[in-house]
């Protein structure tokens, strides 16, 4: 993936919108897992404090004065690249005469680039955030589903470093320090590359020359990134686990793996998982719930980085065996050509309807621009690939799927 941000900032003017959106996206190499919690804590601190005033007060004053309505800090990884976005909703443009975009953007700038982590001592804020993550992790690891973290690691021979065991999480949090959080802030926010998006009720491009450029001096460069999900399945290992859990309900999860998956296979698996769970087909839900009332809810997921489809159900222990048979049947349902054709027709029609729904989503234009800028596969690309999938391809794909995991977690506690 090649990323060109020379054309930043991006502007979309839409007079229908009553808000102005401002997003600043920091693009950096993906961090190692050991920095997971340092990054999470950094995001927390950026969300909650500023350097000037160590509470949210400054920001709330801005809010009261209608300079900022809302804001959010988030990140995601794509291959080897990390995208950290700070999104602001600036209200009332075009509604209140006294709305001052320039003032808003200055507050935004201070909030991003003068964070509390630049203080000589931010141990109090750091410790609060650390404690929150400690509690969160304890809660997460006490959930029966946390078992799967270790299970996938046992099942696949990863060549990348993106999947982690429960112990990896515990160690990563344990080794998170205040200094590391500050180092990450300097690396990602102060020295990193960023791209800005502004959308909504903005008058015209003179805004850039007069206001925007003077506030946000752009760092322009070209960043090259790679997407590498290389991993292979351990061929002699079938993951069957029978485990008791402290619950009145049981959980089953079955995994189906596609060996040596090509890019085309990824679309086939995406198609199959959509047919299993998405509203218009819901093969799995129809079998487990509508036809047999064995479950209240169930799900099918396509884990792209593992080339694996998983099916999960929460149910009573006496229904486990019946459900396992029905899950296998669901996976094989599209071997019937007529059913495949019907599923494809419905899936494409549903995607067409999604296109129509975009017409009613006034912020869609902005989201679309963002995804086009980074040359992510767009909704349109996916749709075009899906239209060309044939029955023969799907048949071959399903027949080559290996059932690699069958996890049965039996809950027999009384209510």
């Amino acid at each position: 993936m090649k990323l060109n941000i020379k054309t930043s900032p991006k502007l979309i003017s839409n007079k229908d919108l009553k808000v102005t959106t401002f997003d600043i996206m920091f693009v950096n190499p993906r961090l190692e897992f050991k920095d997971k919690y340092a990054l999470e804590i950094l995001l927390d601190l950026m969300s909650m404090y500023s350097l000037k005033n160590r509470t949210r007060q400054t920001f709330n004053e801005a809010n009261d004065l209608n300079y900022i309505a809302n804001y959010n800090v988030d990140f995601f990884n794509k291959g080897d690249t990390q995208f950290l976005t700070v999104s602001f909703l600036l209200p009332m443009a075009g509604i209140f005469d006294d709305f001052d975009l320039k003032k808003s953007l200055k507050i935004v700038k201070n909030h991003i680039f003068k964070s509390v982590v630049l203080a000589d001592d931010f141990s109090y804020e750091f410790n609060l955030a650390y404690e929150r993550y400690q509690k969160k992790l304890e809660t997460k690891l006490s959930d029966p589903m946390a078992y799967f973290n270790d299970f996938w690691k046992d099942l696949y021979d990863f060549k990348h470093n993106y999947y982690h065991t429960n112990n990896d999480h515990i160690n990563a949090l344990k080794n998170t320090t205040m200094d590391r959080v500050r180092e990450l802030y300097e690396k990602i926010i102060l020295k990193g590359t960023y791209i800005t998006f502004i959308g909504g009720n903005i008058s015209d491009k003179t805004f850039y020359n007069e206001t925007f450029e003077s506030i946000f001096k752009q760092r322009k460069e070209v960043l090259k990134t790679e997407v590498d999900y290389e991993r292979k399945f351990k061929p002699d290992w079938f993951g069957h686990v029978d485990k008791k859990i402290d619950s009145t309900q049981s959980i089953i999860r079955v995994g189906y793996y596609k060996e040596n998956a090509t890019k085309r296979d990824k679309y086939l698996l995406m198609f199959l998982s959509c047919a299993l769970w998405r509203r218009e087909n819901r093969i799995l839900f129809n079998k487990l719930r509508n036809e047999n009332d064995l479950v209240y809810s169930c799900s099918a997921d396509y884990i792209e980085s593992l080339d694996t489809i998983t099916c999960t159900a929460h149910l009573s222990k006496e229904n486990i065996n019946k459900a396992l048979v029905l899950i296998d049947e669901s996976i094989n349902e599209l071997l019937d050509e007529e059913k495949f054709n019907k599923a494809k027709e419905k899936l494409l029609k549903a995607d067409n309807i999604t296109f129509i729904s975009y017409l009613d989503d006034k912020l869609h234009e902005i989201k679309r621009l963002r995804s086009n800028t980074f040359k992510f596969e767009s909704f349109e690309d996916e749709y075009n690939e899906l239209t060309t999938i044939t029955y023969e391809e799907m048949k071959e794909c399903i027949e080559s799927l290996k059932k690699v995991a069958e996890l049965i977690m039996v809950g027999d506690k009384n209510d």
């Binding site: 160590r54 509470t55 949210r56 007060q57 709330n60 109090y124 609060l128 404690e131 929150r132 509690k135 304890e138 809660t139 006490s142 619950s247 009145t248 309900q249 509203r279 218009e280 819901r282 129809n286 719930r289 509508n290 047999n292 009332d293 064995l294 479950v295 209240y296 809810s297 929460h314 149910l315 009573s316 419905k346 029609k349 549903a350 309807i353 129509i356 729904s357 017409l359 009613d360 809950g411 209510d415």
Partner: protein, 333 residues
């Protein structure tokens, strides 16, 4: 701003229209004024009492046993969002989609108002409902929620709208039919239509539907609460494994003398009161951070909706040993 228009039909049904010609979509919601807390009610003048969970089971039964088969599946097959929701005060069924709106509206109305469910159909539905109860009972917060409700109320208020496995297993065809004939009728129902539609066509669909039914309705009346302002247990200790400790203060207050308008105003004012005094931006919330008293904020909520015409509940969940004293000072001052 979209203006909402209300029409009351001769059969007592209220239809609300929220029309927006700019949209490409349509939606409809049917509200039945019968929910999980109407455990005691009058039907044709006779008093009946049910266990928790019957309103919710009936919602599932209507969805899965419509004249069109399982309408959840039907609407999914036809690219419509669909669901049913049972709350304390009402049961709601909705659809949302982009084409063939009038046909789908008819199917929704028919399914809810002209169901022919059977004993066999009811028994089949119980499987999924029992699994739903299982999922809910395994939620971390459920037992805490249940403990609070059991302490606040006497037996006339539903502890949990889903009911228990035992109560659901025991409900019979006659139980459900009695409730269906008593509450699922036009003068106990509101239909809301929104999106880009033709009002005349919508009214035509609705009128045609109700005129075609050959049903006998029973006279309905929900029973007033027998509960008093006193709570059942004033002090309860509950151990929440793997969770932070809180003192949960719940204040039960009388709203029986309030009109609907006053109640709505009260909810707004109490919302402001809670936000102004206790959220993270309040003086109290800021002090907790600034003076490093507690890493956690106080959770507050106010609810009158589930106990309409009787009680409101004001809740404060305060982290223990940290900001209790400061909180109590702010609360009393």
């Amino acid at each position: 701003m979209i203006k909402t228009k209300y029409v009351k039909l001769d059969n007592g049904l209220v239809v609300a229209f929220a029309k927006d010609n700019k949209l490409h979509s349509f939606g409809a919601e049917i509200f039945i004024k019968y929910g999980s807390h109407h455990k005691s009610f009058y039907s044709d003048g006779n008093l009946y009492k049910c266990e928790d969970g019957i309103a919710h089971l009936l919602e599932h039964v209507l969805i899965e046993n419509s004249p069109y088969g399982n309408i959840g599946k039907y609407f999914s097959d036809n690219y419509y969002s669909y669901n049913g929701i049972t709350s304390a005060e009402y049961t709601k069924y909705y659809i949302f989609g982009y084409e063939n709106f009038y046909d789908n509206l008819k199917i929704l109305i028919d399914s809810i108002n002209n169901s022919q469910f059977t004993q066999e159909g009811i028994e089949k539905c119980k499987g999924a409902v029992i699994e739903e109860i299982g999922e809910r009972h395994n939620e971390r917060s459920f037992k805490f929620f249940k403990t609070v409700r059991e302490s606040l109320f006497n037996e006339d208020v539903a502890i949990d709208g889903l009911g228990t496995v035992e109560s659901v297993k025991d409900f019979s065809y006659d139980d459900l039919k009695l409730i269906y004939d008593t509450f699922y009728q036009p003068d106990n129902e509101i239909i809301i239509v929104y999106g880009n539609f033709d009002e005349k066509k919508v009214l035509e669909v609705i009128n045609n539907c109700f005129n075609s039914y050959n049903r006998t309705y029973k006279k309905h009346k929900t029973k007033e609460f027998v509960d008093t302002l006193d709570v059942k247990n004033k002090y309860v200790e509950y151990v929440k494994p793997n969770d932070m400790s809180v003192v949960s203060i719940n204040i039960k207050y009388d709203i029986s003398s309030f009109t609907k308008k006053e109640l709505s105003r009260l909810e707004t004012y109490l919302g402001w009161y809670l936000a102004y005094n206790f959220n993270s931006e309040s003086e109290f919330g800021t002090r907790i951070f600034k003076e490093r008293i507690s890493p956690y904020q106080v959770y507050t909520s106010n609810s009158t909706q589930p106990y309409d015409d009787a009680f409101g509940i004001l809740t404060f969940n305060v982290p223990t040993n940290e900001c209790e004293n400061l909180f109590l000072w702010y609360l009393s001052n």
